[in-house]
């Protein structure tokens, strides 16, 4: 069954001034972003930043307190079957019915999706090395994730939504999941939206990145743009200085003694002038990694699970 394609040019995801509270806590604050067709969109942020809340709103599992989410131009709460029929979703905890066998799990899920592709499901099952007779409760965490991914993919959705797909997995299972995502991306026109706190992974796979910090969007841009705009400068002072340093245009300043490192966003001239007025010289310029940028933006040293 094909949906009428009147919404072919609709954005897969459009979020406008979205605000969400849990009791008195603000989970998301005035969030706006859009995900164009064919994008591989990485949502990064610490646990508790609001990533899963945003995904729940996209799936129509929560009613927004303010603002709106539209998926393929539709409200996911008003048209759940039309929205959910076009996307595949892998939840963070890969929650699958424990008592089922893999083949039962596949048969059970196929009944929800008119576009389910049996041949493709079988191909994925073999590729992922999942024994059809194995019980879900006996699968490893990595195998559970792969089984969840199989279910998310087998109806060939236009949009794949993955919540922390590789969190809590060992290195090999992570590789399998990432490889499966990379393979999926290669399929023409498929849009992928995935959240992760593993910035290395996001830097490898995503072409667009949104950074959430405490429910606020701190950055949303193409990977190339982000890389082009951010700079790391190493400052050298003739004599040791004691912080905190004040440098105009800096996102973050770190260091001690004679050497200090500044991450800035397109404000090279301002930083240079400010550093020179303090008597420092710039001894090195480089492009920061996504992790450096996130830390500079979030004002936090480390990203913890």
């Amino acid at each position: 069954m094909q949906m009428p394609s009147h919404s072919a040019d609709e954005l897969p995801i459009l979020v406008t001034h979205l605000t969400q509270f849990y009791g008195r806590a603000t989970a998301l604050s005035d969030l706006s972003l859009q995900v164009p067709r064919g994008a591989v969109f990485g949502l990064v942020g610490e646990n508790g930043a609001g990533k899963t809340t945003l995904i729940k709103l996209m799936l129509g599992l929560l009613v927004p307190n303010a603002g709106s989410v539209t998926m393929f131009g539709m409200d996911p709460i008003q048209h759940p079957e039309r929205v959910l029929g076009r996307l595949g979703y892998l939840s963070e905890d890969h929650d699958l019915p424990h008592w089922m066998r893999v083949n039962e799990l596949i048969r059970y899920n196929r009944s929800f999706y008119p576009n389910w592709d049996d041949a493709y499901a079988e191909e994925l099952r073999q590729q992922f090395g999942l024994d059809e007779k194995a019980k879900v409760k006996n699968l490893s965490r990595g195998q559970c994730a792969l089984a969840g991914l199989l279910i998310a993919l087998a109806h060939k959705p236009e949009l794949l939504v993955l919540d922390e797909p590789s969190s809590g997995l060992d290195a090999i299972a992570r590789r399998d999941i990432l490889a499966a995502i990379v393979r999926t991306v290669a399929d023409e026109g498929r849009t992928v939206f995935f959240s992760s706190h593993l910035l290395d992974e996001v830097e490898r796979v995503a072409d667009t990145v949104a950074m959430l910090n405490k429910g606020k969007l701190v950055l949303c841009a193409g990977m190339d743009e982000i890389k082009a705009q951010h700079h790391t400068l190493t400052l050298h002072f003739p004599e040791p200085v004691t912080g905190p340093l004040k440098i105009a245009g800096a996102l973050s300043i770190e260091g001690r003694g004679k050497e200090w490192t500044v991450v800035c966003n397109g404000e090279m001239a301002a930083v240079r002038a400010s550093a020179e007025s303090l008597g420092a010289s710039i001894v090195e310029e480089s492009t920061p990694s996504l992790e450096d940028i996130f830390i500079a933006r979030a004002g936090r040293r480390s990203l913890k699970v």
């Binding site: 393979r183 991306v185 290669a186 796979v205 072409d207 990977m223 990694s289 992790e291 450096d292």
Partner: protein, 139 residues
Amino acid sequence: MNIHLSTNNGVPIYRQIVSQVKYLVASGRLLPSDEVPPIRVLAERLLINPNTVARAYRELEAAGILISRQGSGTYVSNTGSPLAWAERIKIMTERVDALLAESRQLDVPVQEVIALIKSRDRLLAQPREEEAANADAVS
């Protein structure tokens, strides 16, 4: 084709691929008309977005280092890349910089370094001269 990516140093991934393929070609580890892996295969091996590989290949094609034959893969260019000399010099410059940094640290003057390079070069060239001499003797 052996490519190592790092997301720690901040260099965009497509640029890492471009410079490493250039290096492999310039150093003779990839030879003219060698086939490079298809985009999907390399993307899966390196666990990166296929569009990133496609972009790197496009750039390498534009630089005359790779050519893609419609429907039959991508190959190292036969015509000899116009950038090869500049690339070779670039690679050498990095090596020379590292050498100079070390010689300064060890307090060896640059004239000594040059003399050392020349004497090592003579030593490395000797077997070849012998071969040439042998060839002369035969003919």
